[in-house]
Symmetry: D2
Subunit: 249 residues, 4 copies
Amino acid sequence: MASKTFFAVIAGVGPGTGRSVALKFAKTYPVALLARKPESYADIVAEINQSGGHAIGIPTDTADAASVTSAFDKIRAEYPDKRLAAAVYNVGAGFAVKPFLDLVPSELSAALSNATGLFNFAQATLPGLLESAEAGAAAPHPPTLVITGATASLRGAPRFATFAAGKFAVRALAQSLAREFHPRGVHVAHVIVDGVIDIPRTKGWEANGGAEDGKISADAIADSYWYLHTQHRSSFTQELDLRPYVEKF
Amino acid sequence: MASKTFFAVIAGVGPGTGRSVALKFAKTYPVALLARKPESYADIVAEINQSGGHAIGIPTDTADAASVTSAFDKIRAEYPDKRLAAAVYNVGAGFAVKPFLDLVPSELSAALSNATGLFNFAQATLPGLLESAEAGAAAPHPPTLVITGATASLRGAPRFATFAAGKFAVRALAQSLAREFHPRGVHVAHVIVDGVIDIPRTKGWEANGGAEDGKISADAIADSYWYLHTQHRSSFTQELDLRPYVEKF
Amino acid sequence: MASKTFFAVIAGVGPGTGRSVALKFAKTYPVALLARKPESYADIVAEINQSGGHAIGIPTDTADAASVTSAFDKIRAEYPDKRLAAAVYNVGAGFAVKPFLDLVPSELSAALSNATGLFNFAQATLPGLLESAEAGAAAPHPPTLVITGATASLRGAPRFATFAAGKFAVRALAQSLAREFHPRGVHVAHVIVDGVIDIPRTKGWEANGGAEDGKISADAIADSYWYLHTQHRSSFTQELDLRPYVEKF
Amino acid sequence: MASKTFFAVIAGVGPGTGRSVALKFAKTYPVALLARKPESYADIVAEINQSGGHAIGIPTDTADAASVTSAFDKIRAEYPDKRLAAAVYNVGAGFAVKPFLDLVPSELSAALSNATGLFNFAQATLPGLLESAEAGAAAPHPPTLVITGATASLRGAPRFATFAAGKFAVRALAQSLAREFHPRGVHVAHVIVDGVIDIPRTKGWEANGGAEDGKISADAIADSYWYLHTQHRSSFTQELDLRPYVEKF
């Protein structure tokens, strides 16, 4: 089966969206899961391996180019004969919600490092994705890079200045990469997640007045990422928004 | 099976996208197909009915409110006990590609009637979609209105002034409807089709230098419309772009 | 003086923005003022003529091509030797603020006729603006078409579906005209007026919690229109937003 | 005269736009000019002082918070009794035009530092601008922060990935600051400069086929910045595009 000779890599794996995306892609591909701390992916790696899939986890700081290089050396050692089918960048941005004059420069740096992380991750994955594109029909789907965005990718807001700066920069990279690599057969999609995601960390948060399904299902996000991966190359989606039916926008 | 008690309606059915969308939705629902001329849908109705699905065709000018009312009277007579699961507005816009000073007022009217058609179609379908939303879990998927847009939905261009006017107006309606009806459980999605669609009428057209898959597959568009219909209500997509990997944008 | 051999035409003149724009442009040019009803411009024509300027008023329905043709015949008869320096389209759109299912087709038509009006006005003024552009340095400023937009030009909203449809369509025309006529030397600018304008009709409206300067000064709008007209052709602005400092956006 | 008790500060002063902006604002205010190297502003400081204005220059690296703090200490020492009327951020971004896989991380950092520079400059100037806003009618115009953007502020492009990342991030900050500080009376405007500017460095560049006025006049940019500064607080412009009449967009 084609999928045995391909793998996927997911950066920014934790108990929320990353977990759902990992489980979704692991149904078809072996998956390499990256997070800064092993405790973020350890359970998920175990869950996938116990249920008949194949997963590895590698502690990686995507904002650090050397850490990314080292992670991909390990991935290549683990999967010497596999090609890269899909890469997902789901790394969270530094998130300091404050009046502008209360922010400090390190909070801007933390937010901008979300773009640095994508830069490093894209440099590490695009060569493999291009190789898979050149392999053509052998790949089960067009090789894909999916990137997680947010409301703040499109809109600066009071108290969200630094977060928006990081997310706008990520979107700029995503758009530039799509325009450069689509013609070479690699699908680059940016997803605007506009709402609170229903994950352990947001359990207590009230979103949309507590309406049923008022927070975004992480599994539903994973479904959309997988759908993007399966799109025919004659009809790539570059940007997608996802929001609860009750969300104001 | 839930799908037996639901149906879909598709306006703007012809040998291209409309046909692919009709065949796709007919796998799950009985479908009512609308087009100005019966010859636009006759073969497709036959094809669906012969292959075990159920389809009816009704000659309808969506730009004419009375014609739309009459069509939905016929649909209700045909499906007295079924609820509306999905409505697709795929009607083509008047398309006069000329320098602005060569255009005549009737060419603007023809283009704007694309918005009038959506207005009439939305007024005819939203009450049924709302009923299905209130029926809640009985519906197989959140009730959905999908609307076909184009490059010109986002961008005015020389020689495309009237076409863009119509398509911008359609997008305004789509966005307004999403903001009004999402909270009531009806999914309204607008799809920017950015490229030449690979249909009989465009056979001879050269798109993207004649590259393989350089025109958008109508079946791939239908897949995306269906995917939108199946999205969980916690993560609706309001707008999606679709373009060939080789398309400049 | 160059300005004696040029004139300006302003459509949509009434006691608010139109009046301020008329007075502003009348400081430099003779002005032809158009409105459906003479009572909309009569006082302004008198005010300009009494204070040493020159103005004429012509009852015109911009949504009716024949009415526009007739108005420009009168203008040419009045100003046989003058060239057109600037044209301002400030016509109000049909404005029915209701839930979508309460709207009737004529309310959509009324809204879309805002685009029809611009179409007719642009067809009547662009030939003269092009002539002035070809006259080159003789014109005091690059010939200009300024178009009034609104919040709804960029954003569909519940209860504003038809209004947004008209305003999106106007923006599509504005953008298409800019892309076609900028290279020929005619400046086409679209202004997003985002807020309540401080005019007689809105006297009683509370905007922005009644804050001082919480409504847009019509004279300030006129200043911006004039500024756009004076821009050097190496740096045309195509789109501008104008909103009160206290407006949420 | 009010203007004697106010001053302006301009960051990113060199022989192009910065010079034109400095000369323009110096007609009304004493100006503090910042650039990394004194040779960038020395001639301009002299020119202003010799022609009856008042200017000082301070070597400053806006991307370095300590350098900015030190510069504003000097400014306060120089102008102990003056209030800040206007601040202009015109600092150039790191500009590496290459295929994505040829870029190195330091080229991304250089581009992102354009946002860091704005962050530092805004933190240093907003307290003074707020003070001037509170002073109300004493200020000749609403206190203003003008920020230079580019085509790449709105659009990622192949070979421009890092430049776009920096410029998107700057726009995110500008928009967030506008939404936070407009209601407090400080005008924050972002200017999309879409085209080649006609400055010494671009003398040999062919833009728009060498058309007359095919490059943007730096003086025309300065006129627009000044116009933005003079806007009434009931009608602030948050974003403006500027491009040559012959520019494709």
